[in-house]
Structures are given as C-alpha cells and as structure tokens.
C-alpha cells in the first residue's frame, strides 16, 4: 500500500481578477494517508477551499492552477484527460459542499440525484440504482420514504445528509468536505460530524476544510493551518492544539472560547493581507507580536520537527 493516498506538491492557484492577480494558493504541499482524517484550518480567503477544489479540478476561470502536482492513488490528477478524470471524481473522490440548501438540484427528486451516481459510474439500470440509493440513504440516517422527496421538502441537516450520501455512494477513497457543517446549527453539526467519522472508520480518508479549529481538533488525526495562501503549520491534531508553534495557530487557539476554564478570549489584531500584493517576508508578520527583522525580509520555509511542521522564523522547539 502506498504511503500516501493523496499528495499535493507545490500547488499554486491564481485568480486573474480585473484588479490584479490573486495568489490564492501559493506553493502548498500536503499529503493525506489512507484512512486518515486531516483538517485544513484557516480564515475566509486563506485559500483552503481553493486548494480543496483544485483536487476536484473545480477551479474555473478567472481561477487557474498555475503550478504543482496532485497525485492521487498513483495518478497525476492535473494531467489526466477530462474523460478519465470524470471517472475518478464522484467515484474515488467524493465532495461535500458548504451550503446544503443550494447544493442539490431543486427540480429533481433526491432519489434520482443519488441514483444518477450509480447509473453514471457503474452503468446500473434505474431500478437497481434506486434500490442502491435507498440503501445509502438509510445508511446516512434518512428514512427510505424520503427517496421521492424534493430537496425543498427537507431540512438543512437532512439535505446535507443527502449530499453526503451522494458523495459516499460509491465508497470513495477520499472524501473532501468543504465546511459541511458551517451552515447548520450546532446540534445538527455534531450529528453530521459523527456521520463523517463513521465513514472514516470504514476506511475513507477525509479532507475536512473548516475555519473552526476547535471543531477540527475534536475529530482530526492531523491538522494543517493555512494563512494567506500559505501552509503555516501542520502536524498531529493533539500537538497542534497542545503545543502550537506558529503564532497564528496560537492566536487561533486563543480565540476559541473555553467553557470550563478562566481563559480570556483574545483575538488576532489586524486583518489578513490582500493577496494581490502580500507583504514581503513572512505574510503574518504585520499581525505578529514576535515579528523581527528576518520576518520582514525573508519568507520562512516549512521546517519539520518529527511530524510537526511549521513555517516560522521564530518558532522555538522545546
């Protein structure tokens, strides 16, 4: 078995906007092991979703994958033909999106939308595909009589379950979940996370995109933190939470409220930079309390201490 299911190497994605070129993802490398849950954390606009969509080749103009390699299960995804890629996407890679209210076709019954995946990828007949659709629908906890319901007849949580059912219908090796719980309330959020975890237990790798570090910490094996298009820290979840090395990760952790402790919430001062003209050196330095001369001049590279990697001039190792 290969060591990695998915390897992103030096990925660069740019958006050619009228007001300038946005470097949304700037030389990011990330690897996902088989059966692993990895969360990518960062604030809005840090490039985490763009990175995830690059894997599924869902970047459309004005966005463009400029450089890098994405190797999935031994194949270079950015160099497969569209026809071949369509066989991988939806079958070996499933994607769940943020807003369940809009991610299903409002005019088609959910059963037909689920069954379509079986018909497209496995060439099943409609009747057989509907049987399978009912099976997977029940697997995600939705009663079989909902098979002929339209999306508008379901709640947000139910719709997200349907979206997950479609994404996992063919038992993909990798499930990309782009903030799948952000649009849902906390209780529903938890049940959706449980559902995702149950698929992880069955062997599916999960690439979970979120802005919520606390949520990521609960379930992930590993966490990658992105800031302004760069990967700034990456490592086992418990190490990231207990011993964050990057000042940005530290800031993120301090901004999570603690129900049981006396901890005060602190926010990170300032705003993320404009990615059309990011600051020189370390992109976080204008907001960083530890910033020194080298931070303003030199861009830090990702250095690893065992499994824990960080891109910071000032990160000290205990």
């Amino acid at each position: 078995m290969p060591r990695y299911l998915l390897e992103i190497k030096d990925l660069v994605v740019k958006y050619y906007a009228l007001s300038g070129i946005v470097r949304a993802v700037d030389h990011v490398s990330l690897a996902v092991k088989p059966g692993e849950w990895i969360s990518v954390v960062g604030e809005s606009g840090c490039g985490k979703s763009t990175m995830a969509y690059s894997i599924a080749r869902l970047i459309s103009p004005p966005g463009k994958i400029v450089d890098g390699k994405i190797v999935f299960d031994g194949r270079d995804l950015l160099r497969t033909s569209p026809k071949e890629f369509r066989k991988i996407l939806g079958r070996e890679i499933g994607v769940v999106f943020q807003d369940p209210m809009t991610s299903l076709d409002p005019l088609r019954r959910i059963g037909d939308q689920i069954a379509e995946v079986y018909m497209t990828h496995l060439g099943m007949k409609k009747k057989e595909a509907i049987e399978k659709a009912i099976e997977v629908l029940e697997r995600v906890g939705i009663p079989r009589d909902k098979i002929s319901a339209y999306p508008h007849q379901m709640s947000g949580g139910q719709r997200q379950r349907v979206a997950i059912a479609i994404a996992v219908a063919l038992r993909p090796k990798l499930l990309i979940a782009d903030e799948p719980t952000t649009a849902l309330d906390v209780i529903v959020q938890d049940t959706i996370m449980d559902l995702l975890q149950s698929f992880k237990k069955e062997g599916t790798s999960i690439l979970f995109i979120t802005h919520d570090l606390a949520l990521a910490a609960e379930r992930s094996d590993r966490i990658a933190v992105m800031y302004a298009g760069k990967l700034v820290e990456e490592g086992p979840a418990e190490k990231i939470v207990e011993n964050p090395l990057h000042p940005y990760t530290q800031g993120l952790l301090k901004s999570v409220p603690d129900l049981w402790g006396p901890k005060k919430i602190e926010s990170i001062p300032g705003y993320p930079p404009d990615l059309r003209s990011p600051p020189p050196g370390c992109r976080f330095h204008p907001r960083c309390r530890y910033a020194g001369e080298s931070c303003r001049r030199e861009e830090p590279v990702l250095r690893c201490f065992g499994e824990h990697c960080v891109a910071c001039h000032r990160a000290w190792v205990k």
Partner: protein, 340 residues
Amino acid sequence: MAKKGLGYYIVVRALMIIPTILILYTIVFVLLRILPGNPILAVVGTRNIPPEQLRHLEHLAGLDKPLIAQYFDYLWNVLHGNFGVTLASPMGVPVMDYIATRFPATLELAIWGFTFSVIIGLVTGMIAALKRGGKIDTTMRIYSIVAYTLFIPWLGMILQYVFGVVLGVLPTGGRIDPRINLQTITGLYVLDSILTGNLPALISSIKHLILPSLTLGIVLSGAYTRLVRNNMVDVLSMDFIRSYKARGIPGYKITWYALKNAFIPVITLMGLQFAILLGGAILTETTFSWPGMGTFIVDRIEYRDYNSIQGAIIFFAFFVAVISLVVDVIYALLDPRIKY
C-alpha cells in the same frame, strides 16, 4: 395558508377571467361609440339617403336603442354564446361564422410564430450563456435588443422582398395556393393537410406559413434570448451545478439540468408573450394578407361594425386568458416548489 390544491387554484383563476373580460368589453364598447360615425353611416357613406330610411336601417341594427341597453343586450347575448350578427357589408351574418374561419388562421400563425420564437430564443440564449463574456455572447445580446425593437411590418417586408421577390422561393401572402383544394376539418391548414393526406396542400401551407411566422418569431424571440441567457448564467453559477461536476456527471447532462432550471421563468414569459403574440399577429396578418382575426378586426373597424369587433375581441381575450391559465398550471406542474 391552508393547502387547497391545484384544483382550487384553477377554479379561482378561471373565475378571474370573468371580470377581465367584462372590463375589456366595457373599454371596447366605449371606444367604439366614441369613434365618429356608425355602421350604417359607414356603408351609406356620402350617398344621399332619405332620413326615414336611415332611421329604419339603424332600427334594424338596434342602434336606436339607448347605449346602456345596447351594452347589456350584447353582453346578454355573449353570455348565451351568441356573438351577434355583422352590422355592415354584408349585414346579418353571424359574427361567429367569421370567427370560425378566421380564428384558426390566426391560431396557426400564432403557434408557428410562438414555436419559432421559443426555439430561436432558447438556442441563442443558451449559446450566449455557455460562451458568456465572449464575442458570441455580445452578438447574441445585440441580437436580442435588435429583435425586440424591430417593427413587424418592416421586418415582414424585408423578408418578403428577399425571399419572395429576389429569391422567389416563398410566397409573400395568403395561407395556401388558391388552386389547391383543401378539405378543412380544424381550420389549421397544416394539420388538415396531414389529416386528409393532402401532400400538395401540406407543402403549400407550410411555404405560406414560413415568412409570417418567422417574422413574428424573430421579433418575439429577443425577449427569450435575454431571459434564457441571464437565467442560464445564474443557474450555471449555482452550487448544485458545481455539485454535479463533483459527482462526475457528464457535461451535456449538466447543461440539460441547468437548462431545465433556467426554463422555469421562461414559462412565465411564454404566458405573457402569448398575449403579445396575438397582438403581433394582427400586424403580421396585415403585412402578409393573412386571412385571420387581425385582418378581420382591422377590416371591421373601417365599417364601425360594433358587433364584429366586440365579438372578435371578447373571443380573443377569452382565448388569451385560458392560455395564460394553462401556462400557470404547467408552471406549477414543472416546479415542485410551487404550492397553491
């Protein structure tokens, strides 16, 4: 709101046709009486006729009654399915006889014009949306504005000149070659030719239909081009399209699902356009000497033939109202989100 179902909605909508037609009839009635002259004077013209004979003719036509009585008499007749008789040249022919031969002509023109407009609009709008931002998109958008603002008789005459005079491939007027004998069943010539297996009549009636319905179709297609393009662009940027891509669904299928979603508002426009379509048919008919309701109404206005005009317009309005009801029902059946 309590769920009352589609049946309830249809009944309510059908009942709303009654005031619509009453208002329309009142307006037409008043306008006709404001026009100078009356049917008898229109026929008599400048000839000298003894006043007592004139009064006798007016009495025969019921024009000596008070206006209010004329208003309710006619209304009463219409409620009993009687659209009255012509008041002039010739006098005394049931208006319904005219409608029976004229209306199918207009309907046939309207159906073809409508089909042309929807096809042209859908294709141009869809292409524009799929190629959005490019030269093709710009061309289609310009087309939509130009088509929308074209004057039907002007476009009709251009087409008549090009295809009828210069190229000589298509007739410029009429419904069918007068030498061909066609047994009418429905009054829709294309359908009748097929039903009676009359091939020469089929070819001739289609040839006669092309130019007028194309004229009507082009002018009406502009609105569709614009609407389809804009809806399609909206739908294509929606999340569920991205979801389809992420499931590995082939592109042509995604385009089809997008088109279905973009089509919903187009159905509303179709209902509205159908009324405009019948109005446009009047201009088209006069341009192409098409023996339909349009030429009939224009012709009868010359004679101040009150009964014919009132009858034709009420019939027309009733038809438009029923069509728009049908469109709304189709809309409800197509979009599962709509509840009544």
